[in-house]
Symmetry: C2
Subunit: 339 residues, 2 copies
DNA sequence: TACGGATGTGTGAACGTGCACACAGTAGGA
DNA sequence: TCCTACTGTGTGCACGTTCACACATCCGTA
């Protein structure tokens, strides 16, 4: 089968001609307005006959509206795969946008090259707004969105985020503090933390909450710093911690995946959990119930974060005023067996 | 900050006026052509001055080219979260498209409503082609793409896929057969399978390969049928199998996640692996090395699948002829500890 | 009889871009 | 001198849509 032209598709003109009407009437059938029942029937028949589909590019050009919202997944390789939240957040956002008849298009940013292309894409009129997840400090995408005045919502917010850009997130400081306090309440004395992603608000805030809970007992030496929220980082971080303080009896892992890695290391080292060491995670992801023992952790409402962010963007699109620029969702503690 | 209009953005006209040139010359600066060095300098200065970004919608309308390719992730909720392949496939595709200066936009299909909207989006001129992953039998998306003659590539192919639509995949039948034969070679006699996703080519083919390897020894009763490739399905499937045949000594799980679930159930049931029961998986995902014992499995070249599919679409876009419509990537057996 | 409103339909102009074409000037070769 | 080729620039049109406007008809009422 040869494919010389990309197949001439019918336009409003063709439909109008086939139905014996004018373009205006076809447009009215599509967008609402006064149309007689016969005219509507004829046009609808012609449309399904010729297989008409409106051309979004033309519509977007004329209307300055594409009915699409970008979901910018600004994640390095390993994170994207090992972070279960990102998937849930996407699905939550997709569902909310879908309900409002908007298309979610997700853009993956891996390299500097990607950043530039995504920036071009965002400003090219293909999307009406953007949801940005886990942007980093000094992320160029932030500037682009700010310059463009593109309706946007950030999920989590880097410390240098422009005050006017709305965000939704969770109270990382408070949640980290609460779960650390739980660890204290079970009688643990030498509590360490495997802190990750300290170039992001979430990582920084979880560490801050941990520090706050421990107060004067806080010991810099008991913080292992790992780059990512993944399993491998957990294994490594726990080895570090055991080496520095063999008498450690409590661990706050910055994510469930990290906690899972930590459990594995503790098992190899012959420590029992929660007998010798209490371990808590963060996320309440599938990791939490898959571990042995199951993890005590902080529930992160990933799906709600996604749909909330979508709502924020949609509200801006409708021209509504946003009262509080930021919004924090609550994060219940989930008590299971690991601490 | 009030936001009455979506902020008037500069157009070629504005740039032309600012630089004292005509629109045509601006266009030539952007797209190549004869332009004097002074003119180019003046125009480039004006562009960076006014912060000009070409309007993709207008360009797409005129050129019938958007420089974007859709990645249709046709996955139900649980699958999307638990299938590690989809992420790797996406990253592979993204990298390849990025290199060719194309934007990947990924569309999530969850519901029938989504299907319809995605179909509209695909035919709306926002994308030049599509990569479709794990479409199901009778998927309406297939018809849409076929009707539109949209350059596309399927990853895996449903049995009812139009002969002309290119696909890339792996030899599920051969790989399943090979790993089952490995199980046989270790002396297992009562081998069961936890089969999943039997509404998809991958699920069907893996079962077929299993059956082929066993030949006359194949026993219908030793196949547990579960809906998804996830951990929970593995737990359930293994319970089924143990109940039906307590003397079972080998299990082929249709995915690593399923194998992980099966391991958990076996552990609970007091069976040792690989002592009492040999277990093999499929995918060589992060699950495989995270299990105890680590899984013997089939390596699935997820990233290559993604980049291959992208290449196929790009080649169609360039008007090249595709010799073999289908393409199968090789899948080495990875021998670890579980069988 | 005339008028205002509701209902229904057609037409022209724009959205921002790229391309074909026209035009102008210079240079080289027959 | 004329023709052609090359470089550089401006202008009109089209892509497919929507929207504002003009027009046409019919009804009820002043």
């Amino acid at each position: 089968m040869s494919r010389p032209q990309p197949q001439k598709r019918p336009t409003v003109h063709d439909i109008a001609a086939a139905a014996g009407m004018s373009r205006g009437t076809v447009s009215r059938v599509l967008n609402g307005g006064y149309v007689s029942t016969e005219a509507r029937a004829a046009i609808e028949a012609a449309m399904s006959d010729l297989g008409y589909v409106p051309n979004n590019a033309a519509r977007a050009l004329k209307m300055r509206r594409s009915q699409a919202v970008a979901f910018v997944a600004h994640e390095p390789h390993s994170l994207f795969l090992d972070d279960p939240n990102i998937g849930s957040i996407m699905l939550g956002a997709n569902a909310a946008l879908s309900l409002a008849d908007h298309q979610m298009v997700s853009l993956v940013v891996e390299s500097a090259r990607d950043t530039e292309r995504v920036a071009r894409y965002l400003s090219g009129g293909f999307v009406d707004g953007a949801i940005v997840v886990s942007a980093r400090t000094k992320d160029p995408i932030i500037r682009v969105i700010s310059d463009l005045a593109l309706p946007a919502a950030f999920i989590g917010h880097p410390p240098d985020l422009d005050q006017n850009i709305p965000f939704v997130g969770i109270d990382n400081v408070g949640s980290a503090r609460a779960i650390t306090e739980h660890l204290l309440s079970t009688g643990r004395r030498r509590i360490g933390m495997i802190a990750a992603a300290l170039d992001r608000d979430s990582g920084i805030d979880r560490l801050a909450g941990f520090r706050a809970a421990l107060g004067s007992v806080f010991d810099e030496d008991l913080v292992a710093d790992v780059p990512h929220y993944d399993y491998g980082s957990g294994v490594k971080g726990m080895r570090d911690l055991l080496e520095r303080e063999p008498a450690i009896d409590g661990v706050f892992a910055a994510s469930d995946a990290i906690a899972a890695g930590a459990l594995e290391t503790l098992r190899e080292a012959g420590r029992s959990v929660p007998g010798d060491v209490g371990v808590v995670g963060f996320d309440d992801s599938t990791w939490a119930v898959r571990c042995q023992p199951q993890l005590t952790t902080v529930h992160q409402p990933a799906k709600e974060l996604g749909s909330c962010a979508a709502q924020v963007v949609l509200r801006q699109l409708r021209g509504e005023h946003l009262d509080p620029v930021g919004q924090l969702l609550s994060t219940p503690l989930i008590l299971r067996d690991s601490a």
